[in-house]
């Protein structure tokens, strides 16, 4: 097989449609007789619903129906638990999943209370103002520690308190080991994250075809197959009666895989009841409440370390904010717990977390999915240790790296996929070296003039390391078929939200089948085209679906060889497949197009040999035993203006090892986008809740997404350590860019302002000019005033 496309920076097959405005997104679906939905949402974070009066709303012209929980009968049910808790000893997990419409109580601002269906979106929104709800406000749980106090208001009254989960995982014996430590560092770290904020909000359109007895749903979901199965089960339909299409999706980043959002439960149900198609498109304000987000953790962490800079052990106790419900189980805190170990040999680990219900929207994975929190704690602990031990911060990381000959490396605790946390492969030293070289580390630290600009700005450098568990199971599949035109069609069940699957999967196929990459038509996210699949999450599209595509393409290749050998009456070994043709090696006039071969493989008359399958087609599945672990280093040089605490990133470097790269252009794009989101998390984006659980900045004017002026040019480089866990050696790349950015900002800003000398450490994210001023200002002043 000649690899022309694998590893090459191929421009994307899907771009022409997107660039000319022809690509179909959910809100572009327009159907005759369409109704529009709008939702009345709770203005309170925590309140009892005493009564709901919808009479006036129902009378408004153009309103077709108004639905509350009371109208739902048996269809009203809490949602499914998406990820059950892993089998960890003595685990406590209290399952409280979201409900389609609030019944007796609302548990966060924005929780839906009623649905209006009307002839236009404008009319539906008008009618929301006609609904009168009598609420009795209850104290809101906003702070994690407050939520655990014995007298705290209970969010779920059938539980004894607000504990959603309690999990302890250990490795070795930290309590004994800490006695041998030369130094023990204890700190409290606070790491908050925000809203994924794809530029396309969520939306859904559902249409019931009463003649065909079929329901069609267009949904902004990352997991169309799972949505189909769930909705069919909820509505008592066969899975064959439901088609879910995730067309072009305007960014996902995790929250578009939550299931089932109330709107996904309600819109299809009412479309059947009313026999009219219904559309709901989330607005940006709703997005801040109605779509899941990530949020804070508070870690009390302790590092035991020897004078030689070698980690003896880590103890960590942390609180995790799961929001009002916990449908996603423990994925986020377990990711934090596992990823905290990062790239280092940690012989003893004792980690306990408590997940807490709060009166805030539900927390579910968003790009990085809790890994940021863990990496931040470990990287900060090492920075502090390095300083106290007088060891260079790069050197301390090197001394603790898992060595290239130590893989597979078993961390002896359980990961989010229920498998042991075992790193498959890696070679961390060269990754770090490359980052140091690209950022110019030696030159910077040796050059005394590098630390100040002529206009008085302070300059600092940061270098951090991270790992990322990617590409977990269970499985994905793909079907590949050579059409009689000679074009190749490929279908898979994963959804795609901009990751370039239309191109990377085509590259894999084109190489195996010797066709042009532009001649491979990829369909993703349509359950009528491919029946099975789990969805796009955990940086798994390229790894799991990519390998399934490769396996299916190999089988089709075999079929082509066999059919061509029969046709030319020669040995399969003599057949060459290239340029869309199969030919006899060395006899170029003995060639047949793949399209013609496909037609011959599907004879319409005559007899075939027993066992013959028609066509040049294959369906294959791939499921890895466990996830592949990618790794990388980020480095930056940052300027801080001491008068305003405004920053400017002068140079940013990413060196990344995600195993075999299918398309470096696409991987680079993923890295850039991840870093941009990481920068948002580190310095611009913060969901600001007040004591009553009200979000104070629910607009893009107040919740700041980084712009082209905030995200710097990023230099990236790759090293390749193939994963042994899949035949192609791929590791995921989707989330890596976002993971270590908070840790990097903290280190680089400390370095720029020489904070340790002022007795200041940065132990929290997000930062902002204001927050930096609060942390640092008083100390700078004191020093200038000459007091101790």
């Amino acid at each position: 097989m000649v690899t022309r496309y694998l590893g090459a920076p191929i421009t994307r097959n899907e771009d022409a449609r997107l660039l000319t405005g022809r690509a179909l997104f959910v809100d572009d679906v327009n159907l005759p007789n369409l109704l529009h939905a709008a939702f009345l949402r709770s203005p309170h974070a925590h309140a009892r619903i005493k009564s709901i009066d919808v009479a006036t709303a129902k009378q408004r012209d153009g309103v077709i129906a108004v639905i509350t929980a009371a109208d739902m009968g048996d269809y009203w049910r809490p949602g499914p638990l998406l990820v059950p808790p892993p089998p960890i000893r003595d685990i406590v997990f209290n399952q409280c999943t979201q409900v389609p419409l609030a019944k007796d109580k609302v548990r966060h601002v924005g929780e839906p209370v009623a649905m209006v269906l009307a002839e236009s979106r404008y009319l539906a929104e008008d009618a929301l103002a006609d609904i009168v709800v009598d609420y009795e406000a209850l104290p809101a749980i906003v702070d994690l520690a407050d939520g655990l106090k014995p007298d705290a208001a209970r969010i779920h009254e059938d539980l004894a308190g607000n504990t959603a989960a309690h999990v302890r995982q250990t490795k070795g014996n930290y309590a004994e080991a800490v006695k041998r430590a030369d130094l023990v560092i204890k700190r409290r770290f606070v790491y908050d994250r925000g809203a994924s904020s794809p530029i396309e909000t969520r939306g859904i359109v559902a249409e019931w075809d009463g003649k065909a007895d079929r329901l069609t749903i267009w949904d902004t979901t990352q997991a169309p197959v799972v949505i189909r199965n769930g909705i069919a089960a909820m509505l008592g339909l066969s899975e064959r009666q439901v088609r879910v299409i995730a067309p072009f999706i305007g960014g996902g980043f995790g929250p578009k895989i939550m299931m089932f959002y109330p709107e996904e439960v309600l819109v299809p149900w009412m479309a059947i009841k009313l026999s009219r198609p219904i559309k709901w498109i989330e607005d940006r304000l709703e997005h801040f409440f109605a779509t899941t987000q990530e949020r804070g953790q508070v870690h009390d962490a302790e590092l035991a370390i020897g004078r030689d800079g070698k980690i003896i052990g880590v103890k960590d106790v942390f609180l995790h904010d799961t929001g009002a419900y916990d449908p996603y189980g423990l994925t986020l805190p377990i990711n934090s717990q596992c990823t905290l170990l990062n790239a280092y040999v940690v012989p003893h680990y004792d980690s306990t977390f408590t997940a807490v219900f709060t009166n805030k929207p539900i927390a579910t994975p968003y790009r990085g999915a809790g890994r940021q929190h863990g990496v931040f704690v470990m990287e900060r602990l090492l920075d502090i240790a390095a300083r106290q031990l007088g060891i260079d911060r790069i050197e301390i990381r090197r001394r603790n790296f898992i060595g290239p000959d130590q893989f597979p490396y078993n961390n002896e605790i359980i990961y989010q996929d229920f498998a042991p946390l075992e790193y498959d492969s890696g070679n961390y030293g060269p990754v770090l070296d490359k980052a140091l070289e690209l950022i110019g580390y030696d030159k910077f630290v040796r050059d005394p003039t590098a630390r100040r600009t002529d206009d008085g700005k302070h300059v600092g450098i940061g270098v951090v390391f991270y790992i990322e568990g990617t590409g977990i199971g269970p499985y994905e599949g793909a079907r590949i078929q050579v059409q009689s035109s000679g074009r190749v069609s490929l279908a898979t069940g994963v959804g795609t939200q901009g990751q370039g699957h239309f191109t990377s999967f085509a590259q894999i196929t084109a190489d195996q089948l010797g066709v042009d990459v532009r001649d491979v038509d990829v369909v993703t996210g349509d359950t009528d085209q491919f029946y099975w699949g789990a969805g796009t999450f955990a940086s798994r599209g390229a790894v799991v679906a990519g390998n399934a595509v490769n396996e299916a393409a190999k089988v089709v290749r075999q079929k082509i060889l066999r059919a061509a050998a029969e046709h030319f009456e020669c040995a399969e070994a003599d057949i060459v497949i290239a340029n869309g043709k199969a030919s006899v090696a060395g006899v170029s006039e003995r060639a047949i197009g793949l399209g013609e071969l496909a037609q011959r493989a599907n004879p319409l008359r005559g007899a075939v040999k027993p066992g013959t399958e028609p066509g040049l087609e294959a369906t294959n599945y791939f499921g890895p035993a466990r996830g592949a672990t990618a790794n990388g280093a980020h480095a930056m040089i940052i300027e801080v203006d001491p008068a305003t605490m405004m920053i400017e990133i002068k140079k940013y470097v990413v060196v990344h090892d995600c195993g075999t790269v299918i398309n470096p252009l696409i991987v680079e794009g993923q890295i850039h986008g991840g870093v941009a989101q990481g920068i948002g998390n580190a310095f611009y984006e913060q969901l600001a809740w007040d004591r009553d659980g009200q979000l104070l900045n629910a607009s893009l004017a107040d919740y700041l997404l980084p712009t082209a002026l905030d995200v710097p040019h990023i230099d990236s480089a790759h090293t390749v350590t193939p994963s042994p866990l899949n035949p192609m050696g791929i590791k995921g790349a989707g989330e890596a860019g976002a993971i270590p950015v908070g840790a990097l900002f903290a280190q680089a800003i400390e370095d720029a302002l020489d904070l340790p000398r002022h007795g200041v450490e940065i132990l929290e994210i997000p930062l902002s000019p204001n927050r930096l001023w609060e942390l640092i200002g008083p100390h700078l002043d004191k020093k200038e005033a000459g007091s101790p």
Binding site: E14, L19, G21, I199, G251, H672, V675, S699, A708
Partner: protein
């Protein structure tokens, strides 16, 4: 609210349209849902993300901040009109493809309508100029770097042409 309908007569990408609409209908909704030109995207409806940017008498504006009635008697250009009749992409469309300047593509129409107008005014832009001009359009996928490269590439391919 009065039920009065208002006549809107406008030219979109060179084609005349005449419709009677509600006074409160947003221009973005008019283009997308009345005329069916869904290439213009809506990301925030409060004037921040730039996804809904169109050209109004040649100038980039946010269609979510305008009413359909304001289009009466004016010329509108949307992403659907950028490529040539034969399908040849505009140099900026081509450059975005060549540099991988789009991922999900949801911000792309707004970026095209903002930056083609910018290129017409600034045929030889510097990178800081490009970033400044781009800073009113949010992209959550690309980190902007490839978009900046695309604008630079398009400018050089257009060779100072407007």
């Amino acid at each position: 609210m009065s039920d009065e309908r208002h006549r809107v007569a406008t030219t979109v990408n060179g084609t005349r349209h005449q419709r009677d609409v509600d006074g409160r209908l947003l221009l973005s909704d008019f283009l997308r849902h009345v005329l069916g030109l869904t290439g213009t995207r809506v990301g925030c409806e409060h004037g921040v993300c730039g996804a809904c940017t169109i050209q109004y008498d040649g100038l980039p504006v946010r269609s979510c901040l305008m009413l359909a009635v304001q289009a009466d008697g004016h010329e509108i250009a949307t992403v659907e009109g950028l490529a040539g009749k034969d399908g040849t992409l505009h140099p900026l469309q081509q450059a975005l493809r060549d540099t991988h300047g789009l991922q999900c593509g949801f911000c792309t129409a707004g970026i095209l309508m903002t930056m083609t107008a910018f290129l017409a005014e600034h045929p030889k832009p510097t990178e800081p100029d490009i970033r400044e001009a781009l800073s009113g359009n949010l992209c959550r996928c690309t980190g902007y770097q490839h978009i900046v490269e695309a604008v630079t590439l398009a400018a050089s391919r257009m060779g100072g042409r407007r």
